[in-house]
């Protein structure tokens, strides 16, 4: 009885989501398309929100807040990055090869030249099939559907677009990617960590109040509360999924120093892991009223031979209303409340081989 109620509730919620917002992506339940061949980007992680479909309006400069800093409040569509490096073919391809998928998968509009997402209609007919319909982008990966597009290198330094791992660290990353995807953090409803918080699925809302820059992701209801007062970091013994971000303004750019992350999150869903030594310098650069350029420079001598920098754009989601005429809003994303994604890796549900959970990373 209880289980039945739970099912009904969740179905109702999912249907509501599918009807109300033009949002096809739902990687939570997405089949792991990437298991066999190329890293498929988790299938359903594609799909731009409605904002990706609108022709770009001429955008002036970012407005200003009462304190004179840029007003970056509003809704933004991060690119859903499933591999921060140009993806090499899975299963034997040596890293460093060509960009098999044209660079890390990107949600529509997120990348320079990114194709507009045609995801909206896929989310229309919900009905009893709500969750699958809402999954839209879960169709076979490989291109336009859901807004995946050639994105170019995410990593702008070094020039080859690849993470400058030590050989040992590269071997560990490859092992995670090829043999331990059942331990992929978001599969377990972990928060995304940084910088993946800026490139996970679905939308992002920014709120600014005196002394704070706050990001609330729809995905996994992840929050980043960034004080902008340049305060000292918390004790290094405290380890957090989202780390300890401390911001300050340099002109119109918000610079964020992020430390204290734990080692339970990845940079993406492709085994790019972290150590506790990771120190990230992030920049939120307001390019124009509809675009924030996001940059992150990673420093961790324990696994990298040099610092490396990735960047991508956060395009504004200009969707004003949902399909019922209601002002656009982020929905509530339950994850652990009904997670069945693990089964994609531990059972014969699209995966090629069954994996055992809990392998030590």
């Amino acid at each position: 009885m209880k289980k039945t109620l739970l099912m009904l509730t969740t179905i109702a919620t999912a249907v509501g989501l599918a009807i109300l917002i033009p949002l096809p992506g739902s990687g939570q339940d997405a089949p792991p398309q990437g298991k066999g061949g190329g890293k498929g980007g988790g299938g359903g992680k594609g799909g731009g929100k409605g904002g990706g479909r609108a022709p770009a309006a001429p955008a002036g400069p970012m407005p200003k807040l009462p304190d004179g800093h840029p007003d970056m409040q509003g809704f933004w569509n991060p690119p859903a990055i499933t591999d921060i490096e140009p993806a090499a073919p899975r299963g034997g391809g040596a890293p460093g090869g060509g960009a098999a998928r044209g660079g890390g998968a990107a949600r529509g509009g997120g990348a320079p030249g990114g194709a507009p997402a045609a995801g909206g209609p896929a989310a229309g007919p919900g009905g009893p099939g709500g969750p699958p319909a809402a999954r839209g982008g879960g169709a076979p990966a490989g291109g336009g559907l859901g807004g995946f597009a050639g994105a170019g290198n995410r990593i702008i330094d070094p020039a080859d677009g690849r993470i400058p791992y030590t050989p040992e660290a590269r071997a560990k990353q490859q092992d995670l990617l090829n043999n331990h995807m059942a331990d992929e953090p978001e599969l377990h409803c972990y928060q995304s960590g940084v910088p993946h918080s800026e490139s996970n699925q679905f939308g992002l809302q920014i709120i600014q109040t005196p002394g704070y820059f706050v990001e609330q992701s729809e995905f996994m209801h992840t929050v980043r509360i960034i004080p902008t007062d340049g305060r000292p970091h918390i004790d290094s013994k405290i380890r957090l999924f989202q780390g300890d971000p401390v911001g300050h303004w340099e002109g119109d750019t918000l610079v964020v120093d992020t430390t204290n992350q734990n080692t339970k999150t990845w940079f993406d869903t492709s085994g790019n892991f972290k150590t506790e030594a990771l120190h990230i310098t992030e920049k939120f650069i307001p390019t124009d009223a509809n675009t924030i350029e996001y940059q992150a420079t990673m420093h961790d001598p324990s696994i990298y031979t040099k610092d490396w920098t990735a960047h991508w754009n956060l395009p504004r989601n200009n969707t004003k209303t949902m399909s019922d005429g209601h002002p656009y809003e982020q929905m509530e994303f339950g994850c652990i409340e009904g997670n069945e994604d693990l089964g994609h890796y531990t059972e014969d549900k699209g995966g090629k081989k069954k994996q055992v959970l809990g392998k030590k990373q």
Binding site: L5, A12, T13, P210, Y212, R231, Q242, H326, G343
Partner: protein, 256 residues
Amino acid sequence: MRIRFAARLKMIAPFALAAPLALMSVATGPAFGQAKSSFTAPKNAWEGHADLSGIWQAKTTAGDDVDKLVVDPPNKKIPYLPAAVAQMKANAKNKAGDSTAKCWMPGVPRLMYMNKPFQIFQTAKYIMVDSEYAHVYRQIFMDGSGHLDGVQFWDGDSRGKWEGDTLVVDVTGFNDQTWFDKAGNYHSDQLHVVERYTRTGPDTLTYEATITDPKVFSKPWTIRVPLMLNKAPNARIMEYECQELAPLSASEAQKK
């Protein structure tokens, strides 16, 4: 169409990383009746209304049993319908049925008195409540928009307005999967909560919630609890992440 759930978790081990918060003096809650105060609330610098921003926490164990917060009816008993008492008693014997025992969202108003700090961010269109508990956040829409029709939320659909210096939030659109506490006090999907947030002092705020649910209660009832402001320099909320250590996949759980 099948949806399966990991209905039984082998092990639940919430791991908490909560920095010690500065101990603050516990203010006494106001007496019965509407929260009234001669205190003039400071104004929010950008938004202009009474300033509710900051890190707040209810220093109470009401998350174990919400009974202790009831201020109306006068006998301080939750006015269950006779037919609902049996379910409440059954819940009390089934602690694992509590949504927070499964690391699920706690619902509203429980999120506000479950003894985890939360930070309020206040703007003209949105008031955000970001909790330390399982990084749950609430969005209180202040743009005059109405409730969404036909959508259920774990933490409800919150629409707020100002009545003088008091923030009044109308919350509907709940599912029936959360309890008010660990003791099994529960509600149906007909739950309707009206919250009132009133600053009562430099470090305090009175939180009131009137709870209506015609499927479970014979009449509305009201809880009240003081919230304490964390004024420690550089205070921040931490992460109270709640995860099962050895999750079962959906079908594995079904076989148990």
